[in-house]
């Protein structure tokens, strides 16, 4: 980084008062997390908060989980590069979540069955082997998916505080934030996650709304619109134009990913639904959360748009233009993920900046804690427990889950330091998530709504999701789906959204064909397989749950 870049990045209003605000907030969060440790004795409490979460707290925790700092960062990046056209992703997310809330699509039947995790549904419907396979695919995708959370979130912190100008700061911020989350998640489980999510919701919503109003006030709405038009033309507004970086294929891919999967299939969101006190509460939670699901994309999109306008159309941001949008032939552009935090650091006044930064750290923590807890509990409940021949005591389960959380923390740090990809962060997320959800979406949907779905069909459906690995950029390059021309231009034979949509189609076809070719025998229970010891011992699974067949329409 040259001297001009270092100087430009160090310009921020973040001061001592802001640091104090952030530290106080972190201590309060940690204190709350640790204070409920004593309730985390049983697995149902540790993973599902005793299934006693009310609607409003459910909305807070759903928002806290799904509106993470990584979401803020990648959505701002999309706004910076795509302008207002990026808003379509948020609109689709909001409408999809509202649809799930109004109809109870997928989550309603799951809550009625009183399962704790999605793989637990697989076992009730298809047998133990599908549960373990589904859990393995889920964990592979989920853990890959959160690989860049830490790095991206930390980039916000160093960008907004001016630390981006110091080479080693990013690594230290990553280690510090990760340690904090690991401490309270490991000790308090879902109860501490939900309570801290509430505090994080309060800080986050105040930060999001006030920073947005301030940005409009400082830049002016008409200047923002004019600025986007000057930089991106009509493509900055119309997502259906291919030149916008989106287009119809991308929009359809978003309908699948953010419209339905993000709310009804993604395990961290579903885990919230399954912790609610009733199905009615789940539906209310989803209806209200549709606003959060839209806001989590659109508000950060707007911050990215404001950053673009600030850099390209205001004198105050002129020194950043050469960094983020250099003339051809000059030094390569700085990672555009930094654009939004640097803009926020310059726009907001001291103290206010501290509150917004605390809100963003809140977003970071609330996502990390939920993801750690969700993936580790899937390994414990859905892979280890079903495979164990002997009873698996509650204390051992909680202990194993805690160890897994720590191991995942180590992995996330490693991945953040060493993964190299050129995809936008959001596209990386959609692709890695797709490894799980392209198969799971189909198997869940067909398993719930079509009685004829068999365990063999489910097996094929889940495995076909692995085709999504082909959309991961290093894999695309390795197998020749993406290559560089002699002039240095990168060409894709199939884009990630195209691979995603093809994978969903293949999964549907294979699940249907597999179910028709090898239907389950009617006399042998789920898939003709034995149910696991854990499932047969668990009263909420074996006594109260209706079968998927009963919920079929």
């Amino acid at each position: 980084m040259n001297e001009a870049a270092r100087h430009a990045l160090s310009q921020t209003n973040f001061g001592t008062i802001d640091t104090i605000i952030v530290v106080i907030y972190l201590l309060v969060s940690l204190g709350i997390g640790l204070s409920v440790k004593r309730y985390a004795g049983s697995m149902e409490n540790y993973v599902g908060a005793g299934r006693k979460v009310g609607t409003w707290l459910g909305v807070a925790t759903m928002t806290g989980t799904e509106l993470g700092l990584v979401t803020v960062m990648y959505s701002a990046q999309k706004g910076f590069s795509g302008g207002f056209a990026a808003f379509h992703v948020g609109v689709i997310a909001g409408v999809g979540t509202l649809f799930v809330g109004l109809t109870g699509f997928i989550v309603g039947p799951l809550r009625r069955m009183e399962v704790l995790t999605i793989p637990e549904f697989y076992e009730k419907r298809f047998g133990k082997k599908i549960r373990v396979l589904g859990a393995l695919v889920l964990v592979l995708a989920g853990v890959l998916n959160m690989g860049l959370f830490l790095q991206t979130g930390s980039m916000f912190i160093v960008g907004v505080t001016g630390m981006a100008s110091e080479g080693e700061a990013l690594k230290w911020v990553m280690v510090g934030l990760l340690s904090l989350v690991l401490i309270y998640t490991t000790l308090g489980g879902m109860i501490s996650v939900i309570l801290t999510d509430y505090v994080q919701f309060v800080v986050l919503s105040i930060g999001l709304l006030s920073a947005t109003v301030l940005a409009i006030w400082q830049l002016g709405w008409s200047s923002i619109v004019t600025g986007v038009h000057a930089q991106l033309g009509d493509a900055g507004f119309d997502p259906t134009l291919e030149g916008s970086g989106f287009g119809w294929t991308y929009i359809f891919w978003m309908v699948v990913t953010t419209g339905f999967v993000g709310s009804a299939v993604w395990p961290t969101a579903v885990a919230r639904a399954l912790a609610m006190e009733s199905e009615q509460a789940v539906r209310r939670q989803y209806c209200w959360s549709s606003l959060s699901f839209a806001a989590r994309f659109i508000i950060p999109n707007f911050w990215g748009i404001c950053a673009l306008v600030y850099i390209t159309a205001t004198p105050a941001g002129a020194d950043l233009q050469e960094l983020f949008l250099p003339e051809q032939g000059n030094e390569p552009a700085l990672e555009n993920l930094y654009a939004m935090p640097v803009f926020v650091g310059r726009l907001l006044p001291t103290a206010f900046l501290g509150i917004v930064t605390a809100g963003m750290i809140a977003a970071f923590m609330s996502t990390h804690d939920s993801y750690f807890l969700t993936w580790s509990s899937v390994i414990t409940q859905d892979i280890v427990a079903p495979l164990k021949k002997t009873p698996f005591a509650t204390a051992s389960r909680v202990r194993l889950t805690r160890i897994l959380i720590l191991l995942m923390g180590g992995y996330v740090l490693y991945w953040s330091l060493f993964y190299k990809g050129r995809q936008d962060i959001w596209d990386y997320m959609a692709v890695t998530g797709g490894i799980y959800f392209t198969g799971a979406f189909v198997v869940l949907m067909m398993g719930i709504y079509w009685k004829g779905t068999s365990s063999f069909g489910a097996l094929l459906g889940l495995l076909s999701g692995l085709l999504m690995l082909l959309a991961l950029e290093p894999v695309q390059t390795a197998v020749g789906l993406k290559y560089q021309t002699a002039s240095g231009e990168w060409v894709e034979r199939l884009t990630s959204p195209q691979i995603g949509l093809i994978t969903v189609a293949i999964s549907i076809v294979l699940t249907a064909i597999g179910s028709l070719v090898r239907p389950d025998r009617a006399d042998s229970g789920p898939a003709g397989n034995e149910t696991s010891h854990e499932a047969s011992q668990s009263p909420h699974v074996s006594q109260h749950g209706s079968t998927a067949g009963e919920t079929s329409s």
């Binding site: 309730y39 919503s205 619109v225 508000i299």
Partner: protein, 54 residues
């Protein structure tokens, strides 16, 4: 199609809706937390009683 007008309406509606929801969640969420803690306290106590009787 006037995209800039559409996005203005979407954005203004979202800010209004999200702001309203935030107020409701902050007020009612606190009540839900109280209920959750009371429940956990009770189940904690009954678990303890059960363990003692065993």
């Amino acid at each position: 199609m006037n995209w800039s007008l559409i996005w203005l309406v979407v954005f203004a509606g979202l800010l209004l809706g999200f702001g309203m929801m935030a107020v409701l969640v902050i007020i009612n969420g606190a009540r839900d937390i109280r209920r959750l803690l009371v429940h956990l306290e009770e189940s904690d106590g009954s678990d303890g009683d059960q363990e003692r009787s065993e």
